[in-house]
Point group: D2
Chain length 133, copies 4
């Protein structure tokens, strides 16, 4: 199981008039965590796109246990696995001081620039074999 941890700090811009972070903003943080995980395994997302691979989001979800506040330092933990040869699933946990405040997931397909589903680049083979093989 591929794992990564990222720290983010809540921006004022991410709050709403309820005084907490607006729910949709968590998906931006999930992105931060996912991008860092791809860095960690040696396939930075920017390079993927340069090679013609894209990882659009097919579905996404989040559940909120307690609010996040402006200026919070939060840990975004990501675990990635490959439920099939052409899908990547990322599961997220958002923590403040070791307390879980939110969870979520995103499912991605590997697609070409034209939006066609494609086989992932070779760099993913080893991970995919373990999960989906």
């Amino acid at each position: 199981m591929l794992k990564s941890k990222s720290e983010i700090r809540v921006r004022y811009e991410e709050t709403d008039q309820m005084g907490v972070v607006y729910h949709a903003k968590y998906f931006n943080w999930f992105e931060v965590g996912r991008i860092n995980l791809l860095d960690d395994i040696g396939v930075p997302y920017k390079q993927l796109e340069e090679k013609g691979y894209f990882l659009p989001v097919l579905s996404c979800e989040a559940a909120f246990r307690s609010p996040a506040f402006f200026d919070d330092r939060l840990i975004i933990e990501v675990k990635v696995h490959f439920p099939s040869f052409i899908r990547m699933k990322a599961d997220y946990e958002v923590k403040r001081d070791h307390n879980l405040i939110a969870t979520g997931s995103t499912v991605h397909a590997f697609v070409s620039k034209k939006g066609k589903v494609v086989r992932p680049p070779a760099e993913f083979n080893e991970f995919i074999k373990k999960d989906a093989g």
Copy 2:
């Protein structure tokens, strides 16, 4: 079942470098639909907050069938029901030219300004009785 339809037009700001709308932006549109539905049933969300009721998002999800593009005129259809006496669930369909391009849902609790779960205001009684009664 409470229903509402809203039209939105995709803003350039909502696109990303894949040339499509960034997934998290759909939750902003869901909000537009939800706000309009609350208008339709005579309890505008702004008034709810003025009376001390808040409807934070407990969980949310979306699934994307085909991308949305800049300048698209999209219909956001919302259906709301009350799975319990203190919860509201909204289901969304996003359509372009009668084609379903995305679905989603959000679950909300009624809470006070201090974040305590409370019984919804009387205006909701009739709807809640039908669903959760």
Copy 3:
């Protein structure tokens, strides 16, 4: 002078924990006004891009007289002129109930897909001649 009026309704997502709209969001509304103005003069921005013309923002500014609030219906007035043969300037006024609450401007260049400054398409000639001729 080219003019256009658009109405927007403030989204909850656009507020911050000060209970007002976050300043950067006004630029999204300016975009809405600008896009509508381009529609009005028969050169929708989407078509411009399809023909290979882009109008990136070279500079932007905004000044805030009084805050905008969630659920406000605001009028975005835009005036566009062409200070030179390759520049477009848009001036914005944001009004609530005929009261000016904010002003702003954006300056744009006409560029090609590769980012090279280009002469605007013919549809702009008449307007440019009047202003910059």
Copy 4:
């Protein structure tokens, strides 16, 4: 002159379909820089709000020399001064590999929770005296 440097990494969410960062997003980064500067001088913005002081943006501007791209690591340099006893002005430079790609500024007032202009808290006295004294 108060100065601070912050590093940000461009999020995918901040790009648009032109393949560059959408102009309004720079103001979010300016916020990051400004927040860090306030940390550096010992008056974290969060504490300011807890004491009843708010620093809304009265005006803002940005000028773009060259685009920012997804995954760029950018340095946000901020300088703050006090043009009067109740105003704070922040000037920003955005750099990539020591090259200036954008500049900007924001002007702020010190206000109370109710939006009334107030004298800044004592922590600012020394800085204000130097500039506006």
